[in-house]
């Protein structure tokens, strides 16, 4: 399998998880309202489970946004640049982004052992599960940023998957 194919597969898995998490979160909170308002027996687990899913969803989907390269930015200056400067600038930007991902991966791992000692209020599971997406998401993000740098240098833009804008 080519590296591109592997990345596509990773992309599909993360996409599935993010979309599924959104659907499940929305449904759980809807269920909680029904249970409380109609049946007067609210579930005790809805807050904690949705909180954990939310954080995972944000970091996983943020990695996808990095692959699409559609994070919000101020594009004005780079739009005005003459064409021949654009590519080096883009590479510089991606490299700086990668630098920050590196900081997060390292710091995320550094605080992990301590935060993982604490337990969550409802289920009593390790709070590490809340912090893990910081490292995992940033690692995935780096992976996609590296892909974008390589594609930019090789002049091989990603073929948009069917149905994508």
């Amino acid at each position: 399998m080519s590296p591109g194919k592997v990345l596509d597969a990773v992309d599909r898995v993360i996409s599935f998880i993010s979309a599924a998490f959104i659907a499940v979160m929305v449904s759980i909170l809807f269920y909680a309202v029904v249970m409380r308002y109609v049946l007067h027996s609210p579930p005790e687990w809805s807050i904690e489970i949705t909180r954990f899913m939310f954080v995972w969803m944000v970091f996983l989907a943020a990695a996808l946004v990095s692959r699409d390269d559609t994070h919000l930015n101020i594009g004005l200056f780079i739009d005005w640049l003459p064409a021949r400067f654009k590519k080096p600038f883009r590479v510089l930007n991606l490299a700086l982004s990668l630098l920050f991902c590196g900081v997060l991966i390292y710091q995320g791992m550094k605080i992990y052992p301590k935060v993982a000692q604490a337990t969550s209020p409802t289920f009593g599971i390790s709070m590490g599960w809340l912090y893990l997406p910081l490292t995992v998401g940033s690692a995935l993000m780096s992976l996609f940023i590296v892909e974008n740098i390589v594609r930019l240098l090789l002049d091989k833009p990603r073929q948009p998957a069917s149905g994508e804008k």
Partner: protein
């Protein structure tokens, strides 16, 4: 001095075109290294910045916006608006604003509103002889309306940051939102009349048409009542209201209007995940920045500075308007809430400004910023949907922006416009 260099690093990296997320992140890393904070702060504060139950409403309201757009809800809102006010000169431009108000009452996201309104109305306006740049600029104003008329994602983040009641914040938006909507409609009417936009033969108004359009749109028009009414009656909390909105809109779109299919759902969910991630990851990294600014005593410094200029409440508020309008040109509203609102709170307290009034002034200023380059997402979205250069749209949007600033001044001097509705429900 230290804080100035921190802000300098942020501006430099942001203007280089680095995504705001990374730009905040690197700035925070710089601040930690130079200011002798442990770098762990970045990881920990980011998690704290995003681990808030209130933020869960964001994917909900983003989804509501998407469903509205695909599910035929926006189209019906347009038909209904058109049947009511289409007969005036510049009718379709006014319809655009009015639709923006209706959609603003359903969705929580300015950008979603803008794209929903743009995709339906820009083509129709072109057919009726409106220049595309004008259409795009009118459509872009739907965005700020979406922020001010509840529900609203910026208000959600504001309530989280300032610890205000979200219901009160929501309710405070009705009068200012209506004031903006009505005055924009008037300005659209005047401009179209003077410049001769619109169809040569205007529509005729018929009650029958209004009734037919209303019947078609009634279920959609009920959405805002459901969302805000549910919070007011205590059936659910603001965060939950977003989920109720999703299920309700999904139900209409799938089973009543039948313009959406189950097959479209997965992609919609994925898009909403991505949109949410884009917003929340910035909120998280801005929280690191905010932490450093609070630690460095920036809120107190700002308060001292403002009070040294004047001790008159209204002089300070007008000065604040100028500062916020300028900042609104540069930074996005959500980022602004995270990093600027903590700075404003002590000032507002020592001047005795109602926190809701302060919130409205803030949200209006920053929403106007959505219509001004270089960071004007609504302008950007509507220009790209209308396929016209942003510079041209900017020129056409000048009278609209001036109108909004006029309303902003009114709101600034008369707090009751903001506080009247929330007080009704106390």
């Amino acid at each position: 001095m230290f804080m100035l260099s921190v802000i300098g690093v942020f501006l430099l990296t942001a203007l280089l075109g680095l995504p705001i997320y990374f730009s905040f992140g690197l700035t925070a890393a710089y601040a930690c290294v130079v200011g002798d904070f442990p770098l762990q702060i970045i990881a920990q504060r980011m998690m704290i910045g995003m681990d808030s139950f209130v933020l869960l409403a964001i994917p909900g309201f983003v989804l509501v916006g998407d469903i509205m757009c695909l599910g035929g809800i926006s189209k019906r809102a347009v038909d209904f608006s058109n049947s009511l006010i289409g007969q005036f000169k510049g009718g379709l431009a006014m319809v655009t604003v009015f639709t923006g108000m209706i959609m603003g009452g359903i969705s929580g996201s300015a950008v979603a509103d803008t794209s929903a309104v743009a995709s339906v109305l820009v083509p129709s306006m072109e057919k009726e002889n409106y220049p595309r740049e004008f259409s795009a600029s009118v459509v872009a104003t739907a965005g700020p309306l979406g922020n001010i008329i509840p529900p609203s994602i910026p208000m959600i983040v504001y309530s989280m940051t300032a610890g205000l009641s979200l219901l009160d914040l929501f309710l405070s938006g009705y009068i200012p939102g209506t004031m903006i909507g009505v005055s924009l409609m008037i300005i659209c009417h005047v401009l179209s009349k003077r410049r001769g936009y619109g169809p040569p033969v205007p529509y005729t108004f018929r009650w029958r048409n209004v009734w037919v359009a209303f019947r078609g749109a009634a279920l959609a028009l009920f959405t805002p009542i459901l969302i805000v009414g549910g919070i007011v009656t205590g059936a659910f909390t603001p965060t939950e209201s977003a989920m109720i909105g999703v299920f309700y809109c999904l139900f209409i779109a799938l089973f009543v209007y039948k313009e959406m299919t189950w097959a479209q759902l997965p992609k919609m969910l994925l898009e909403s995940a991505k949109t949410t991630a884009k917003l929340v990851i910035i909120i998280a990294s801005a929280a690191v920045f905010s932490y450093i600014s609070i630690n460095e005593g920036v809120p107190e410094m700002f308060e001292k500075f403002m009070l040294s200029v004047s001790d008159n409440k209204y002089v300070i508020l007008m000065l604040l308007n100028v500062i916020l309008l300028l900042l609104g040109c540069l930074i996005d509203i959500l980022v602004g809430i995270i990093i600027i609102v903590p700075v404003l709170i002590p000032l507002g307290e020592s001047l005795g400004i109602d926190p809701l009034h302060m919130a409205m002034i803030f949200v209006m200023n920053m929403s106007i910023g959505l219509l001004t380059p270089p960071v004007g997402y609504c302008l950007y979205v509507s220009a790209s949907i209308a396929k016209v250069p942003m510079e041209k749209v900017t020129r056409f949007s000048v009278p609209l922006v001036i109108t909004m600033i006029g309303i902003l001044v009114l709101i600034t001097f008369f707090p009751t416009f903001t506080t009247f509705v929330p007080n009704l429900f106390h």
